[in-house]
């Protein structure tokens, strides 16, 4: 049991948990309850279960390809040896049970939403459907669960009636996430190509993937038009960050180095989270009736901070952990300094 709980904890990956928590917060905020802890916590309970169930099933089915793509990833229990397949299965069942129980407490609509999300996560990863291997279908379907479930849970947990504009906003968030998830395949291209996982990137190459991602970013940014009572400062910030994302995508389309690819993709993801943050600021500032100079400082500050973080990551890559190289290896062999070849050439 302790082993299963440890695996459960490892599967709550911050890289996924943070964006999903933001979608849940945005759902609650769009329902008119920004800055209220109760609906957010109930939605997060569902998200924490749903995420672990989806990730565990995916890790179980992708074990071979992850051994090639992510051999050093400590948050993948099967690869690092921190967990076994039965423990992963137990964590998936535990996560699904937690998500369903917490969703039932919110209401029948939320329960139906989570059931649909879990079914989608299963057919995405497992045979005979295995949608993850089916080109552009995979990035189009996966965000339905990763955006729809948390946003819907936040919306329903707040208890307000659902309006058409909220669904329009959800559509925009979905398209924006498709634009980001398409880029995830750059990290995995080596193993995907070797093991016949025909992702959109493997099939169509770098330029087409970046072009499709840019189209999704632009279409997703139209979600802003669905939001009633838009604040001018939010519009300016949103358009600025969308423009920055497009510039970074253009650089990614012309990049030739894996290290540069990684930095640009992380920067683009940061901009994506920044856009969700600005939408959250829109609802929070409106709900709390904060106007004038304070609003301008918050929105401009968020825009500038996100932009600086993204540009810094694009320039230098993510912050790396310090590596300690044993002294005797420095003097005895130069093999310690030979970088492992991890590049993979894509068609233009």
């Amino acid at each position: 049991m302790i082993g299963t709980l440890r695996v459960y904890w490892l599967l709550l990956r911050p890289a996924l948990l943070i964006p999903l928590a933001m979608f849940a917060a945005l759902g609650a905020a769009a329902a008119g309850h920004p800055e209220e802890l109760s609906p957010l916590l109930r939605a997060l309970l569902v998200v924490a279960g749903f995420l672990v169930a989806a990730v565990a099933v995916n890790d179980l089915s992708d074990e071979a390809v992850d051994r090639i793509n992510l051999p050093d990833d400590t948050r993948r229990p099967l690869i690092s040896g921190a967990g076994t397949r039965p423990q992963m299965l137990a964590a998936a069942v535990l996560g699904a049970g937690l998500a369903l129980g917490a969703a039932a407490m919110i209401g029948p609509a939320c329960l139906a939403l989570v059931v649909a999300g879990l079914v989608l996560a299963t057919v995405y990863s497992l045979a005979p459907f295995r949608l993850a291997k089916r080109g552009v279908v995979a990035p189009l379907l996966l965000p339905l669960g990763f955006v729809g479930v948390p946003f819907g849970c936040g919306l329903l947990a707040a208890g307000a009636p659902v309006h058409g504009w909220q669904l329009g906003l959800l559509g925009g968030l979905y398209l924006g996430f498709v634009g980001r998830i398409l880029l995830k395949d750059f990290r995995d291209v080596r193993g995907d190509a070797l093991l016949g996982k025909r992702t959109f990137l493997v099939r169509r190459g770098r330029a087409a993937t970046c072009a499709l991602s840019a189209a999704c970013w632009l279409a997703g940014s139209l979600a802003l038009l669905a939001v009633p009572g838009l604040r001018p400062d939010v519009v300016v910030g949103y358009l600025t960050l969308t423009g920055l994302a497009l510039v970074l995508l253009r650089r990614l389309a012309g990049s030739t180095a894996p290290r540069s690819d990684e930095a640009l993709i992380l920067a683009i993801a940061t901009v994506g989270r920044g856009l969700v943050l600005l939408l959250l600021a829109q609802f929070t500032l409106t709900g709390r009736m904060i106007d004038g100079a304070q609003s301008l400082v918050v929105v401009t500050g968020c825009t500038v901070a996100i932009g600086f973080v993204a540009i810094s990551i694009a320039r230098h890559g993510p912050r790396l952990h310090h590596l300690t190289v044993p002294g005797e290896r420095i003097s005895s062999t130069s093999r310690a300094f030979t970088p492992r070849k991890r590049s993979f050439t894509l068609p233009d």
């Binding site: 964006p19 996430f177 901070a305």
Partner: protein, 50 residues
């Protein structure tokens, strides 16, 4: 010729800016928004491509 800022200094400036905005947002009473500002930005350094 203009000298480029060292990465470490640049990162410290960026982190300081994010913290300043986060603190300001909390001071005006928007603590959840402040929390998400930190998560959305600091989360970027944790290797998220989503």
């Amino acid at each position: 010729m203009r000298r480029r800022m060292p990465p470490r200094t640049e990162r410290q400036l960026v982190t300081g800016l994010v913290l300043a905005i986060g603190v300001f947002v909390v001071v005006i009473g928007l603590s959840l928004l402040g929390l998400f500002i930190l998560l959305a930005t600091v989360g970027g350094a944790m290797g998220s491509s989503k």
